[in-house]
Symmetry: C3
C-alpha cells in the first residue's frame, strides 16, 4: 500500500464504523434493508458531505464511488450478524468511538489542506465527526446522543480537532502525531463510557 | 411549446406532485396555510436544492421564481379541496409516484448535464427523488416513509436513476428513452403499492 | 465604531438572540452545557449557513471566528441565569422577535450584495430568518414553532424580506430604511404575540 493511501483508508474506516451505528439504529427501528443502507449511508457520509459543502467542493461521498462500499458492507454485516452485534453492544460503542476519533482528525486535515484557517479547520473537523450521528438521530426521530447529559461525546472530538489544527499551525502535524491525537480522542471517549 | 421547455415542465410537475404531499402532511398535522406552503415547498424543492448544492450551482428553487408556482398551487389546492383529496388518497399516492418517477429522471439528467460521472449522476438523481420526502417527514416528526418496511419506495428511484445514467453513458439517452424510464419507475412504484 | 461595522453588529446581535432561544430549548430538554452550546449555535448560525451555502460562499459561521462569540455568550447566560430567564419568558419572545427582524433584513441584504436578484434575495432573507429555528425544533424533536396555527411567525419575516428587496430594487435602501423595516417586522411579530 502506498503511503498516500493511508488517509483514504482511515477515512473509509471511519465511514464504516459510523455506518454500522446507522444500520443498527435502523434495525432497532425495524427499518428494512433499504432503510438500513440509507440510514447507514447518512450516518457514515453525512458529516463529510456537510464539511465538503461548506468547503465548496464536490462531496467525496458523491464524487468517489469507493465511499459507497463501507455503508454497503455495514448494512450487510448488520443484516447477517444482527443477533451477534446486539450482544456486542460494548464492542460497537468502541467502533463508534473509533469513528469519532478518525473523523475529527481526517475532517480537520481535509479542511486545512483545502485552505481553511485553523479555527475553521477545527470547527469543520468537529462537524465532520458529530454531523453524521446528529443526522442519524434526527431522521430516526430519537433524542440526539450528542445531547445526552450523561455521555461525553462532543468534547473529545472538539479537543482532537483543535489539537490537530494546533499541530498543523505550528508545523508539527505528521501522520504519526495525527494518529496520536486520534488515539487520545479514542481513549477519552472510551474512558467517558466507563466512568459515566 | 418549444422542445427545450419539456424538461422544465416535467421538473415543475414533479415539484407540484411532491408539494401536494407536503401540504397534505401539513393538513394532517393541523398546520396553518403558511405551514402548508412551507412544508409543501420543502418537500417539492428540497431534493433539488440538495442536488444543486452538491453540484455547486445556485439552486433552481432560489434562482428561478417559476419554481415557487407549484408549491403555491399545491397549498391552494389542498386548502380548498381538502375534503376531496382526503377521499382521493389512492389518487394522491399516484401523484407521489409520478413525482418520484419524474425526479429520479430529471435529477439524474441535471447532474449528468453539469458534468457528474454516471455513478454520481445516479446517486444525485436518487437524492433528488427521495430528499424532499425525507425532509418532509423529518421536519414533521413522523417516521420517514422511505424507511417503511412494507413500502418499496427507494428501490424504483434507484433503478430509474441508474438506468438513465446507463443510457446516457452508452449514448442512448433521448427524451423518449428517459420518458420510458419514468414510466417504468412509476409502474414499479404503483405495483408495489398494490401488492404490499 | 466605524459605520461599516453596523451590519456585522446587527448580525451578531441576531445570532445571540436566536442562540438564547436554542440554549433555552436545550435547558427545557435537559441537555447538558455542551448540548446547550451546540443547539444554540445551530439555532443562531444555521439559517445563515444555509443562506451562504446557497450563495456559494464560505459560511460566515465557519470563516469568521467572531461568530462563535454569541452562541458561547448565550449558553453561559442561560446556564447561569436560567431561573431568571424562565421567569422572563415574555422578554425572551421579544428577543426571538428581534432576531427574526434583524435576520430577515441582514439576510436579504447579504444575498442582494452578493448578486442575487430581488426575489432570490427575499427568499434567502426569509430562509435566514426562519432556518435556524426550524433546525432547532427539528433536531430537538419538537413541533416546529414555524408551523403553529396560533402563531404568526413566518409572515412578518417574509414581508420584511420582501420590503427590503423592493427598497433595494428601487434604490431606496439605506441603513435607515432597512432599520425601519426591522422595526416594523419586530412590531408585527410582537403584536401577533399579544393578539393571538
Amino acid at each position: 500500500m502506498e503511503h498516500d493511501a493511508w488517509p483514504l483508508v482511515l477515512d473509509l474506516a471511519g465511514v464504516f464504523f459510523f455506518a454500522v451505528s446507522g444500520s443498527l439504529m435502523a434495525a432497532q427501528k425495524n427499518f428494512d434493508i433499504v432503510g438500513s443502507l440509507f440510514l447507514g449511508s447518512l450516518t457514515g457520509l453525512g458529516g463529510g458531505v456537510i464539511r465538503d459543502l461548506v468547503l465548496g467542493r464536490f462531496p467525496n461521498a458523491f464524487a468517489e464511488p469507493v465511499y459507497l462500499a463501507p455503508p454497503v458492507a455495514a448494512a450487510v454485516v448488520v443484516f447477517f450478524l444482527l443477533p451477534a452485534v446486539v450482544k456486542l453492544r460494548r464492542t460497537l460503542l468502541l467502533f463508534d468511538a473509533a469513528g469519532l476519533a478518525l473523523f475529527c482528525t481526517t475532517g480537520t486535515i481535509t479542511a486545512l489542506t483545502l485552505g481553511a484557517n485553523p479555527i475553521s479547520g477545527a470547527l469543520l473537523g468537529t462537524t465532520t465527526a458529530i454531523g453524521g450521528g446528529l443526522l442519524r438521530d434526527t431522521v430516526a426521530n430519537v433524542r440526539p446522543q450528542l445531547f445526552d447529559r450523561h455521555d461525553i461525546y462532543a468534547v473529545p472530538a472538539l479537543l482532537g480537532a483543535g489539537l490537530v489544527a494546533f499541530l498543523w499551525q505550528v508545523g508539527a502535524y505528521t501522520p504519526a502525531s495525527g494518529g496520536a491525537v486520534a488515539v487520545v480522542v479514542f481513549a477519552l471517549r472510551v474512558l467517558s463510557l466507563r466512568f459515566r
